[in-house]
């Protein structure tokens, strides 16, 4: 499986080198000022028009998540694997409802991060710190997912050495790729991923279209593909009936048959959709749009992406029909491409997947780094930081964030890369009461929100930690759903995404805490926003056309 095909490898390396050079040269592209200011480095000088912003948002959607993680779960016969499709369906109506308000208040009050908004709305530095910290933490496993995707490609192309290779030979190519990514993000900031996004999206659309049209014709059409997957799954279930009954293996299937797994399917979709737009990198992308209606228009148009995402997910099932046998399900799609495509096109496909993981990894690490500089470094450590100091902090933070992600890759179980993203989701969802409910009402008390956040974070983390990998009792972080069980009391057998359960607990604590705070008449702080702020649009008085990362915080 690890024979290096010279043609595929050459094509892959060609594109890889191309984007690396572009990444380094990006610092000279559309240059306005010097990269020594956070503005220039972290927001790309904000001279991006709608078109480039659209490419960047696309970059958030087609990542290793879509190419590797989602098809891998379907390949492995997880009945909940297809949840990514309802997730991206409900994502856009949710964006349509909430984000225009966030856009308006942010542009009226010059907020760049969700933590800025929470600080302004609830007048609590501690709550803002909690929001900023959560954003950074939750981004780590999401970046880790991208690294796992790159690793899968390197493995299949023969550079990774597979499972039996030594530690160094196995992980060295990943480290090299990682170091290059870190280096050009460090030197070029957001311009690097923005420029590379053009190459990436062209490659990705090419590969997706060819894959979803050409592959099924080679494998007996979709009906043949589903037939052979069903046969493979039912023979697996028969052969392993004892192990499945004993809980040492998971049964395989296509459709969530029982109410138990249907709950998991629905709660994973809802949780992921609510989580996505609160990640620092999504907020950055949304706030960079020119007016609030661009957000709504995109929300109406972007679901077209979900259609392709669904077809890509089904390639995991196509891999079964193609007779792909891999122990690590993450390798299913790269392996399928290698087997079915001619070598030069396989090389292009590998490049598309790898670059498709690089771009979001760079964007995410920059967004997390901005959060660090703005809401932690400048708010707590050095309020009088100069522009150059800020830029330096962000650059260093972007490196640290990537190393943090690398730790997630090396430490957590990699059976299902999708769990990395779901783990991040558990955390980021806990910022929802302060951010989303805060957009509508200030009824919830700042300290109650903080208490709710703490309970949600704690419960979610413990629940994920205690979840063993199937067939490996005593292991940790093996999944993201479990029977509804709160502090030892089982409430329902239905499997629920931990993020949703934690969010419900969070809200309960916030509501009860608010009542308590009111009874004891604890100060709620001053709200610096005005109702009209939430409806303001570009061109209105006092609305910033472009947000300034530097000037605003007035802690």
């Amino acid at each position: 499986m690890n024979d290096v095909d010279p043609v595929a490898l050459t094509v892959f390396l060609f594109f890889f080198l191309l984007v690396t050079v572009m990444g380094f040269l990006a610092s000279r592209w559309r240059k306005v000022g010097t990269l020594d200011t956070l503005d220039e480095w972290g927001l790309g000088g904000r001279s991006f028009g709608t078109f480039i912003a659209w490419f960047l948002i696309g970059g958030d959607i087609y990542t290793a998540y879509t190419f590797i993680a989602v098809p891998a779960t379907l390949y492995a016969g997880s009945v909940t694997g297809f949840f990514a499709v309802p997730y991206t369906i409900i994502l856009y109506p949710i964006i349509f409802i909430f984000l225009p308000r966030l856009w308006s208040v942010s542009h009226r009050r010059s907020y760049v991060t969700p933590a800025d908004f929470v600080q302004g709305r609830f007048d609590s530095k501690t709550l803002a710190l909690a929001i900023a910290f959560t954003g950074i933490l939750a981004t780590l496993p999401y970046i880790a997912l991208q690294l796992v995707g790159i690793q899968a490609v390197l493995d299949v192309i023969g550079l990774g050495g597979g499972d039996d290779a030594g530690w160094l030979r196995k992980d060295l190519p990943l480290f090299v790729a990682f170091a290059l990514l870190a280096a050009y993000t460090y030197s070029s900031g957001l311009r690097a991923p923005a420029l590379i996004a053009f190459v990436k999206d062209t490659l990705i659309y090419l590969v997706i279209i060819v894959a979803v049209i050409y592959l099924p014709t080679q494998l007996g059409g979709w009906s043949g593909i589903f037939d052979s997957a069903e046969k493979a799954f039912s023979s697996f279930n028969t052969e392993n009936a004892d192990a499945i009954a004993a809980g040492e293996a998971s049964g395989k299937g296509l459709i969530p048959g029982l109410g138990v797994s249907q709950w998991a399917y629905a709660s994973l979709s809802l949780g992921s959709a609510l989580a996505l737009f609160m990640y620092p990198h999504s907020v950055t992308a949304v706030l960079s749009t020119k007016n609030r209606n661009i957000i709504r228009r995109n929300a109406a148009l972007l679901p077209a992406y979900s259609f392709l995402l669904g077809l890509l997910a089904l390639l995991g099932i196509a891999a079964i029909a193609a007779g792909i046998r891999v122990k690590n399900p993450q390798l299913a799609i790269p392996q399928l491409f290698e087997q079915e495509f001619s070598p030069w096109f396989a090389g292009i496909a590998f490049a598309a997947i790898a670059i498709g993981a690089f771009v979001p990894a760079a964007i995410m690490s920059i967004a997390a780094a901005n959060l660090w500089t703005r809401n932690i470094y400048k708010a707590y450590i050095n309020p009088d930081a100069t522009d150059a100091q800020e830029s330096k902090q962000s650059k260093l933070a972007s490196l640290l964030v990537k190393f943090g992600a690398l730790i997630f890759v090396l430490v957590l179980p990699k059976d299902f890369a999708i769990n990395l993203q779901l783990l991040g989701g558990i955390w980021i969802l806990q910022t929802m009461p302060a951010i989303v409910i805060g957009l509508y009402t200030r009824w919830l008390h700042r300290y109650a929100l903080l208490a709710g956040w703490a309970v949600g974070m704690l419960w979610g983390t413990i629940a994920a930690y205690n979840k063993p990998v199937v067939g490996d009792p005593g292991s940790h972080f093996g999944g993201s759903v479990g029977p509804l069980e709160v502090f030892g009391i089982q409430i329902s057998e239905n499997l629920i995404y931990f993020g949703i359960t934690a969010l419900v607990l969070n809200l309960l604590v916030a509501v009860i805490g608010t009542v308590v705070c009111r009874v004891f008449d604890i100060g709620a702080g001053t709200d610096e926003t005005r109702p009209a702020d939430y409806l303001a649009d570009a061109g209105d008085p006092q609305v910033a056309d472009e947000l300034d990362a530097i000037k605003t915080p007035k802690y």
Partner: protein
């Protein structure tokens, strides 16, 4: 709320209903977690969700159209600029 001007809120309510349908329909998993009827050999579970993507595009676009119209009237009533895309490339 700063809606002092009274362009009726009915369009917003209808848009809200359209968006709610787009959010709730995919969450009712038991309504579509089944194999039949198949379409070109694809189980119902899968093709129905692809259909939902298209339905969601229609519903969200419809909501967009309603909300934009409402916003334009509200802003005109409040004496604010209504040229939403002013200056965009």
């Amino acid at each position: 709320m700063a809606d002092h001007t009274p362009p009726g809120r009915t369009p917003l309510a209808i848009a809200g209903i359209a968006l709610t349908i787009a959010i709730v329909a995919p969450l009712l998993v038991s309504t579509y977690a089944k194999n039949d009827p198949e379409l070109w050999g694809i189980p119902f579970f899968f093709w129905y969700q692809f259909l939902l993507v298209l339905v969601s595009v229609v519903l969200t676009s419809f909501a967009y159209w309603l909300v934009i119209g409402h916003e334009r009237r509200r802003r005109a009533g409040a004496g604010l600029p209504t040229d939403q895309d002013g200056g965009s490339r």
